[in-house]
Amino acid sequence: MNKVIDIEKFTNKIKDGMTIMIGGFLGNGTPETLIDAIVEKGVKNLTIIANDTAFVDKGIGKLIVNKQVKKVITSHIGTNKETGRQLNAGELDVVLVPQGTLAEQVRAGGAGLGGILTPTGLGTIVEENKQKIVVDGKEYLLETPIRADVALIAASKVDKSGNAYHTKSTRNFNPLMATAADLVVVEAEKVVEIGEIDPDVVMTLGIFVDFVVRGENNG
């Protein structure tokens, strides 16, 4: 099935108030074309789920600077001063989550788990308002699943059915997030024919992907 669409068709799907997961790690392996399209459309009140808020001029940072985000669920905002400014000014809600917990929560959302138990965050403010569960005499925090309306994924290469390959350090949250959203869009500069990617090394499965967009300026 050919899932390749124009950027306009993608933009039409993005609405005010949506929850959007975005792949990437400090802008590395981030779907810049899709983000730029959302910046151009100017939808507001987005909730963004991502590892970090990147930089003011890169990746997710551009959505923050353009004041399109009301809430961000992330592990790190330190590289984007505007995120910190909006947080301090009360303009932006920031939920900080340990990076490993964020990865597990997204996976739980995609893999049908009701949650996972982790010692990360015990004895810190991360444990506030969370269930503690004892297994074999050891205490754990119960961390619950996260899902989104839309997941935006960057790939090094994608076939027309959405099977994607992420080279080197660009993989990060991309394959995970593709499992945990109602609408999944993959961006890549290289869009290849179905069957061109060795089935042994597909990293994001096409079965999770709804649309493929040809990217232009992958970060």
């Binding site: 790690f25 970090d52 790190h76 490993g100 917990t101 990360t120 080197k168 350090s169 990060n172 949250f173």
Partner: protein, 220 residues
């Protein structure tokens, strides 16, 4: 001591804690320097939490690959035998006890092994990134830092900044010495001969137990 000498002294001493074959995560900043001082007769593997093992040195100028950066977004290389993976696997490694050691800086560390290194309320809220996972999951947690913040002690009886993890620090290495976290408190096992026991006590807010076997701080 000169600022660079301070950093190198700490990094050199941390490097001596590494064992042949160790898998290690080095935090951003000072801990990164440790890689420069690993003894020639051992080999360790570095993990980069954005998704690989076999982290190598920065590439030569002009050889940068935009698809290969470390967790601080700097261009790096991968060594033979390294491998890339997604964030879930990366934190499976970190949280699953597969790291022999993690080396991190601190804003504060205390005599119970508590560590605070991710925020100053109302002032600096960068987020914990992978720090909580690293400190909770690694087999050994080594804090590598300058002993004080411009004279203000960072080694305390009890941290008052929000914690990164409770009771997880094993060893504190500063330019002044080496302190082990024990059930009885902080045990000073090595002292930099540039300083006296009195110097380090004055620069430390926690009680320091002086080892009967106190040694000169090693750097090789």
């Amino acid at each position: 001591m000169d600022k660079n000498l301070v950093k190198d002294t700490i990094a050199k001493r941390v490097a001596l804690e590494m064992n042949d074959g160790d898998l290690v995560n080095l935090g951003i900043g000072l801990p990164t320097l440790v890689a420069n001082f690993i003894p020639k007769d051992i080999s360790i593997t570095l993990q980069s939490e954005n998704g690989f093992v076999g982290l190598g040195p920065a590439p030569a100028e002009g050889e940068e690959d935009k698809d290969l950066v470390n967790a601080g977004s700097q261009p790096v290389t991968i060594l033979p035998g390294g491998a890339f993976f997604d964030s879930l696997t990366s934190f499976g490694i970190i949280r699953g006890g597969h790291l022999d050691a993690t080396v991190l800086g601190a804003l504060q560390v205390d005599e119970k092994g508590n560590l605070a290194n991710w925020m100053i309320p109302g002032k600096m809220v960068p987020g914990m990134g992978g720090a909580m996972d690293l400190v909770t999951g690694a087999k050994r947690v080594i804090v590598a830092m300058v002993h004080t913040a411009k004279g203000t002690p960072k080694i305390l009886k009890e941290c008052n900044l929000p914690l990164t993890a409770a009771g997880k620090v094993d060893l504190i290495i500063t330019e002044m010495g080496v302190m082990k976290v024990t059930t009885k408190g902080l045990l000073l096992t090595e002292l930099n001969p540039e300083f006296t026991v009195d110097d380090i006590k004055k620069a430390t807010d926690a009680e320091l137990i002086i080892s009967y076997d106190l040694k000169e701080m090693r750097t090789k």
